[in-house]
Amino acid sequence: MGERGSALALMPAAVLVFVVLGAIAVDFAVAFLAEREVSNAAAAAANDAAGAALDQERFYADGAIRLDPASARSIGRASVAAAGLDHLDDLDVRVSVRGDVPEVTVTVSARAGYVFSKALPGGPDGVDVEASATATAEEDD
């Protein structure tokens, strides 16, 4: 008996491979989307903190523009909390303020769940994403 035609049996397997590759592409897109979301949240939080956390006592004392660390942390965390990232797991927000310049850095990290990969045997259930944004307060000319 010849072997012609036996390749037909491989057709479903080949198609399945393409579907799995497509599923991996979707999961990468989900991970990229989560990365974008935490990046946007970090940028908005840094922008809010730099704009609204001016240390007014210091400013009225010597005219220096500096940020109040406690206020910056409060505003930064409130901004991320309002960003609607509830669908991400292990959300963590870190806000750091430099003392020598009016600069605030917000780092947001989280874990994004995959859609398809967790259905594969041994596949990962998610990916850790992290983004940082820095903003500086400046006096308008």
């Binding site: 037909l8 198609v15 399945l16 897109a29 206020s71 609607g84």
Partner: protein, 156 residues
């Protein structure tokens, strides 16, 4: 290569329909998932543009809200989506005052296709949503202060 006839060609033909179904169902499933991801990207951009347009508007409040709606619609359109299927709504109080936190949520309905064996997702539509939040600059001009007397000391 040795010459051969078509012996064995029948063996395996019966799996072709299965392969076809896997191809169709798999492709539709991926297309639906990809559509939802794209809808989420568009909604995210629209929410961001709406919040940004609101806090940077010259005011007053109703004009700022109109600016936000226009910016969100433009963002959705820029992603090749239909603005008529977008719903923009403020989350929490919407106040056009310095230090006020403004949060917008955009919900966009993504059309889906019924998948063999699996069925339809959400009656043919999947709602994707995204939020964005910004604070009205406490030191900007042309915007009133909080009448309660909080000054420009923002508390987040």
């Amino acid at each position: 290569m040795r010459p051969s006839d078509e012996t064995g060609a029948v063996g395996g033909v019966e799996v072709l329909p299965f392969g076809f179904l896997v191809f169709v169902a798999g492709t539709l499933l991926l297309a639906n998932a990809w559509g939802a991801v794209e809808g989420k990207v568009a909604a995210s951009a629209a929410a961001r543009e709406a919040a940004r347009a609101y806090v940077e508007s010259s005011g007053p409040a109703d004009v700022a809200l109109a600016d936000a709606r226009a910016a969100a619609a433009a963002a959705i359109e820029g992603h090749g989506r239909d603005p008529a299927r977008m719903v923009l709504r403020p989350v929490g109080p919407l106040s056009f005052e310095r230090c006020a936190r403004v949060t917008f949520e955009v919900t966009y309905g993504v059309a889906t296709v019924e998948v063999p064996w699996i069925g339809a997702f959400g009656d043919g539509f999947v709602a994707t949503s995204a939020r964005h939040s910004e604070v009205v600059d406490p030191y900007r001009s042309g915007v009133p202060l909080d009448p309660a007397g909080a000054g420009v000391q923002c508390d987040g």
